[in-house]
């Protein structure tokens, strides 16, 4: 018995380590965002944010409310959004589109809804634009929108969009960010 016991113990410990390794979440999981799945046209809520993506469009050229026109490959996301509990620090501060291995942040080159203020109980509407390489408009993209510029530990709304399904328009004029109900 005395000779077998260490071997048994070794086996048990090895098995335990294997199980722990198998069930452990990947690194960084403890600070991962809380994702709320959403679809186009339906409101979704993430912590201090209620948001509806009303349309997803694509174009070769966009013009912002100030008249600035930029030619590239653009994905334009129309959004209605409001804060829930607190206006303190509440802006549409997070907007990322992941296509395959690559993640794109909403452009700051035009005037858009990106980083605009959100009001508790009073929705605002606008659009955010993503500039992509010409070859990226295919397959599935994952769109994540939320309040925090640093999304660790915080809530985000997540949409899956079929990029090859979006008709590419010649030009899109971005709407001025405005109140949803006027």
């Amino acid at each position: 018995m005395k000779k077998v016991l260490p071997w048994l113990l070794t086996l048990v410990l090895l098995a335990g380590a294997w199980v722990q390794n198998a069930v452990a979440l990947p690194d960084g999981s403890s600070e991962a965002s809380f994702l709320t799945p959403a679809t186009v046209g339906h409101a979704a809520t993430a912590r201090n944010l209620t948001l509806t993506v009303t349309d997803v469009r694509a174009a070769r050229s966009i013009t912002d409310p100030t008249g600035r026109t930029l030619e590239s490959t653009w994905v334009v996301v129309d959004v209605d959004a409001e804060a829930i509990d607190s206006q303190y620090g509440a802006t549409l501060g997070f907007a990322e589109l992941t296509v395959g291995e690559r993640t794109f942040r909403a452009t700051e080159r035009v005037q858009s809804f990106f980083r605009q203020r959100l009001v508790p109980g009073v929705p605002r509407s606008g659009a955010v634009a993503f500039e992509l390489p010409a070859d990226a408009l295919k397959g599935t993209g994952t769109l994540r929108l939320g309040i925090p510029s640093d999304a660790r530990y915080d809530g985000l709304v997540e949409l899956t969009i079929d990029l090859s399904d979006i008709p590419v328009e010649d030009a899109i004029t971005l709407p001025t960010t405005h109140w949803t109900h006027t």
């Binding site: 509990d85 607190s86 303190y88 009001v119 508790p120 109980g121 009073v122 109140w179 109900h181 006027t182």
Partner: protein
């Protein structure tokens, strides 16, 4: 030569009772007392350190200083109040969203000498704790030099830093129609853990 006899004969152990071994608790009493003191001390020390690194240094609103109705209060080197508040009903020239009210508040601030700095006042619904921050350009109100949202540091005499002038904070909030008072109007002077809280019901 003879071997001298020992002065005291060796006593066989069986004849005298073994001295009583002191108990484990008694042997370790010093360590146990140290544990009793150190464990809570470490808990309090670490807890305080964590609390202070987040709430300390006067960066956050920690201690409320409530202002009596129509009264003033002295906090952080200035006198705050009395507050005036109301609903702006004529919004025809403004770009107001449907189903909302524009609430306004004015807080006079009288610095003791040195200028004070503060964040913009915040409107808090007392029943729910929902918070609104001031809005201006979003409803079509142009910037006004006389209507400050945050503290100003104008001096009566440019050479004398102790000559800060009195001023007023003027703020407007866009809240949904179904959000009713009473509200708190919180003003947070920088560098002080205390904040000023007015109760208003516009």
């Amino acid at each position: 030569m003879t071997i001298p006899t020992p002065l005291v004969a060796d006593t066989p152990e069986s004849q005298t009772p073994a001295p009583k071994q002191p108990g484990w608790w008694r042997t370790n009493r010093l360590a146990l007392v140290a544990l009793l003191v150190l464990v809570p001390a470490i808990g309090i020390g670490v807890g305080w350190n964590e609390w202070y690194s987040y709430y300390g240094y006067g960066f956050r609103k920690v201690t409320v200083v409530e202002v009596p109705d129509k009264g003033t209060v002295k906090v952080a080197g200035a006198e705050w109040g009395p507050v005036r508040s109301g609903e702006i009903t004529d919004t025809s020239t403004l770009d107001m969203p449907k189903g909302t009210r524009l609430l306004a508040a004015i807080v006079p601030v009288k610095p003791d000498g040195k200028a004070v700095s503060c964040e913009a006042p915040m409107l808090v619904q007392q029943s729910t704790g929902r918070e609104w921050t001031p809005m201006r350009s979003e409803v079509g109100l142009a910037y006004s030099f006389d209507e400050n949202e945050t503290c100003v540091s104008d001096l009566a005499d440019e050479k004398d830093p102790e000559s800060a002038q009195p001023f007023s904070l003027t703020v407007g909030f866009v809240v949904p129609d179904d959000v009713t008072g009473p509200f708190w109007l919180d003003v947070d002077p920088r560098g002080d853990g205390r904040f000023v809280r007015f109760s208003i019901d516009p």
